[in-house]
Chain length 240, copies 2
DNA sequence: TATAAACTTTGCGCTAGCACAACCTTTGTT
DNA sequence: AACAAAGGTTGTGCTAGCGCAAAGTTTATA
């Protein structure tokens, strides 16, 4: 992970990149310049690990473009996808929650451009950049909220509802308008969806087939379009 | 919730109460005095709500003695128990994660003595008391870790394993040595355990009965003693 | 001391969704 | 063009664990 290409010397990053992103939105242009000058940029292909669970948290990251998938692997080798992170968000911020190793693995869910900084300057950021800490902890809070929601869903809902809700969340958070509905903005297999909803790829396949027949979704290999969010919401709700 | 009894005027709290508790352990006695003087103390009976999901987060809390149960209630009225908080820990720290309403409900799991402070002085604490922020975020990190672990467990394990692991965690975190094993240190019903493990009280009852026959646990109404942690650990592990 | 309320146990039948298996389709590679 | 590899579909049978039901036990209340 030390082969980071230092784009900053090639393509000088524009300050406007960060100006509107919450943790930096309160800062002066000069401060953003400073932040960018400390950053390393790297382009990742799809499906590439950015860091792994248990690695020492030497850097923290921000998605500039693309999506990150956060996952954990059980002792028995099963994957559980915890979360997707869209562009504009920090991740790998172990330091913020008092850890010195990453608590989960981060893999690119699409091609992605990622900024990163050495963890040592975290405290400097917190002290010197107003709003940075606050906004960061807001993100932590949101992630906790999502985790919590997943626990509740896993504990109380049927597979069909979990999948419906997960799919809705995906298109809400990372959806792209296409003709005929909203499409999940990165490659996503049945296997992936099953690892998000604690079921099997077979069950997902059956569900999507059924939904497609009813005109709720349209899916091709690695692509899912939600064409009737309304009815999907209804499916996700009640206990029947 | 405004009938807080101001014990502080009656029984002046001793500084040694907080001196060894992480978020305060780095502080001078005078600072702890100051903190205590701002605190409200209240004794709660068992099963009493301290705050409810969605309430404005006007105060933050610390368990001085007893246990707190954190839970969420679904639209359909089902409860999911997220977490138990033992004495010495902060809770209701919505402010720390950028919220202004409590994200879950907190109920006493036993008789409890609880300190609380108005949320407005949170920032003062963070700025003026070294180590307070860091230690607090460590707690946030640990809670995230627990949530994460629960998601993984719910997603990959069978009921028997989940219950075994949950029970082990309970006795590890809140266990009290008794003759014949380690006992969960607060009242706990089959219903409670089922709400922690996403199953039914019936299944819990059957499991405990079976385990009792095998000499793994001993349980009476509202009490559970783990007598053979070793074998329980084994049960919690493998996929069979 | 009787009665109610809360908690627990146990039995039985059913079904959601998994495991297994076979086959198909699309994409990438040589 | 042929093959391999990754991803997707669909069928069949099975079972973990739930829903329902009924009865037992302990604790609280009148």
């Amino acid at each position: 992970m030390d082969d980071h290409i230092q784009f900053k010397s090639l393509t000088r990053l524009d300050e406007s990149l960060l100006a509107h992103i919450p943790p930096f939105s309160l800062l002066e242009h000069s401060q953003i310049r400073e932040i960018l000058d400390h950053a390393t940029v790297r382009r990742y292909a799809e499906g590439v690990p950015v860091f792994c669970e248990g690695d020492p948290a030497e850097r923290f990251f921000m998605v500039l473009d693309g999506y990150i998938r956060v996952l954990r692997i059980t002792p028995c080798g099963e994957q559980v996808i915890a979360l997707h992170i869209p562009s504009g968000q920090l991740f790998g911020i172990a330091k913020a929650i008092g850890r010195d190793a990453y608590p989960a693995t981060a893999v690119t869910a699409s091609e992605a451009i990622i900024l990163s900084w050495p963890t040592q300057i975290w405290d400097y950021f917190v002290v010197n950049y107003p709003g940075f800490a606050t906004e960061t902890y807001k993100v932590v809070g949101e992630r906790m909220g999502e985790l919590n929601m997943r626990v509740v869903e896993l504990a109380t809902q049927q597979v069909e509802q979990r999948v419906a809700n997960t799919l809705l969340r995906l298109v809400n958070q990372t959806g792209r308008k296409v003709e005929g509905g909203i499409e999940v903005d990165f490659s996503i297999t049945r296997q992936d969806l099953s690892e998000m909803t604690a079921t099997t790829l077979h069950t997902i396949s059956r569900l999507l087939s059924a939904w497609e027949k009813q005109g709720l979704v349209k899916s091709r290999r690695k692509h899912i379009v939600v064409s009737d969010p309304q009815r999907l919401v209804a499916l996700g709700q009640h206990h029947a």
